[in-house]
């Protein structure tokens, strides 16, 4: 059953043709990956130590990133959606800038901020001997920098489309701020938060530019699946293809699982 039979009439032939060209443009590279995949070397690939360490590193770091994104991102979304602080538009642009910047720019900026000689990292290193670059923590920082905006944007949009009267009513009935947030606000924005969470995780999993710049590339410590894929491209094309397919499979699964949900949320519509 289509929602609006009048509008959703059969598209005209040129539109259909152009649309299909567009679709095949996206489909072709993935079809090519599947077609060229060296399935015979799959058992060897699965057992490969480097692949296993890259994969477990990727999973662990992207999950930690997602957790930290919730801790900082949801309050940030709340500030952007509800508070009356001056320059909120500027703040929002700042907090989502890393979505559109080349990640390698993020990596360089992170170096200058949090590296041993960085404006924050420098004093930290002098005082505690803590140095972030080349550590697994640096991988998480790089991922968080690039991926957290996905959660912030989706949750912020959901908060803005939420009718404040509901929360107001709960508060009038004697609910504490925390109670209202937990029992009224959270359940209403939950679908958006889940979409944002999954997108953040998928983006963190695929992070490359900021990671290789800020965290370097070392097996087991900082060499995540995207970095391993890039390296494999130069000396082991079979492995590069299989690693790529792995990332494609996970990301595709995420997007299919989310269906159309996040698009409406992230770009202004209600959930």
């Amino acid at each position: 059953m289509r929602p609006h039979p009048g509008v959703w009439s059969r598209p005209s032939r040129p539109i259909l043709a152009l649309g299909l060209v567009g679709a095949s443009f996206f489909a072709l590279p993935f079809v090519a990956l599947l077609a060229k995949a060296p399935w015979s070397s799959l058992p060897e690939f699965v057992r490969d130590d480097d692949v296993q360490s890259a994969l477990s590193l990727s999973i662990i770091t992207s999950l930690i990133t997602t957790f930290l994104a919730v801790v900082f991102g949801i309050p940030l979304a709340w500030v952007l959606a509800r508070s009356e602080i001056p320059g909120r538009r500027w703040l929002r642009a700042l907090c989502t800038l890393s979505m559109v910047l080349p990640p390698v720019v993020g990596g360089v900026a992170l170096f200058l901020a949090l590296g041993r000689r960085g404006i924050v990292g420098g004093p930290l290193f002098a005082a505690f001997g803590v140095s972030l670059p080349f550590t697994t923590s640096a991988v998480v920082v790089a991922q968080l920098f690039v991926a957290m905006p996905f959660l912030v944007l989706t949750v912020e949009a959901a908060l803005r489309s939420l009718d404040p009267a509901k929360e107001e009513a709960a508060r009038t009935l004697g609910g504490s701020n925390w109670y209202v947030f937990r029992r009224v606000t959270m359940p209403s924005i939950q679908p958006a938060a889940v979409s944002g969470l999954v997108l953040t995780w998928a983006r963190a999993l695929g992070e490359f530019g900021a990671t290789i710049t800020f965290a370097g590339s070392f097996p087991g410590t900082t060499r995540t699946v995207p970095l391993a894929t890039y390296l494999a491209l130069e000396n082991d094309l079979d492995q590069a293809i299989l690693l790529s397919l792995l990332l494609v499979g996970v990301s595709f699964g995420v997007l299919v699982g989310l269906r159309d949900r996040w698009i409406g949320v992230a770009f202004g519509g209600g959930p």
Binding site: G115, R117, S131, F134, S217, T222, R223, Y230
Partner: protein, 252 residues
């Protein structure tokens, strides 16, 4: 049909842009060169274009193995200058580059440290200290392979913090002050004002042989082959040799 024609026009325009940004009557020579050649080849490019204004030399610098992979995937290269013989020989074996390889320069390794050498690193053995942050190139690129050879020959075991994709990334980590030391080519340090060299004695060092060849898989246009051969000759000739020598390279 109209839309299809429009698409074709757009694609044609895009590929024309990709070709070259210079005048239509200059012949482009695309040179894929190892990142350790960055300064030397930039100078050779300027000298060459001064002598042959009809040629537009465009250089793509990256790790030798990245360049070899790009060429294998059909990147529009005319000349391949690798930081080792093995990578060029492999490209020849794939049929991507016309043999035989011609060695045009040699290089040795050095330890890159911060200015003033604050960690007082004097030799390869010092790199084994666990509190040092040492960055090496990955063994898939020549600089990393040579570094591993040098360390193994001296019996030094180093735990690097990172294995970078090309030698310039190693140097920049030291120059930024994020790494205490790295192993790079001696010539890399000539161009870096934020790092200095600790020499590795000849008996512990390796001699890296830089080899050059013309790429066979490029989509040749009239004049390309001649310009390509001329550029390679220029690198191998007196002008190329003196530029390379001034940049600190050894000559074959």
């Amino acid at each position: 049909m109209i839309s299809l024609a429009g698409c074709t026009a757009v694609v044609a325009t895009l590929s024309a842009c990709g070709r070259s940004d210079s005048d239509a009557d200059t012949v482009p020579v695309n040179v894929f060169a190892a990142s350790s050649l960055t300064e030397a080849f930039a100078r050779i490019e300027a000298a060459y274009e001064g002598e042959y204004p009809a040629t537009d030399v465009v250089i793509n610098f990256a790790g030798s193995s990245a360049l070899a992979a790009q060429i294998r995937e059909g990147a529009p290269a005319n000349v391949f200058a690798s930081a080792d013989l093995a990578t060029l020989e492999a490209a020849i074996a794939f049929g991507d580059v016309a043999g035989p390889p011609q060695v045009f320069a040699t290089n040795t390794l050095a330890i890159a440290v911060e200015l003033g050498n604050p960690k007082n690193i004097r030799n390869l053995r010092d790199l084994a200290a666990p509190e040092l942050i040492v960055v090496l190139a990955d063994t898939t690129v020549p600089a990393g392979k040579y570094a591993a050879e040098v360390l193994a020959a001296s019996g030094v075991s180093v735990t690097p913090a990172s294995l970078e994709q090309n030698v310039r990334a190693v140097l920049s980590k030291v120059a930024l002050g994020e790494a205490d030391a790295g192993i790079v080519y001696r010539t890399d340090l000539a161009s870096e004002s934020n790092a200095q060299a600790v020499d590795i004695p000849t008996d512990q060092n390796v001699v890296a042989e830089y080899a050059i060849g013309s790429v066979t898989s490029s989509d040749d246009r009239p004049g390309d082959a001649a310009a390509t051969a001329q550029f390679i000759e220029f690198v191998l000739g007196p002008a190329g040799r003196s530029t390379l020598e001034a940049a600190g390279f050894g000559l074959p």
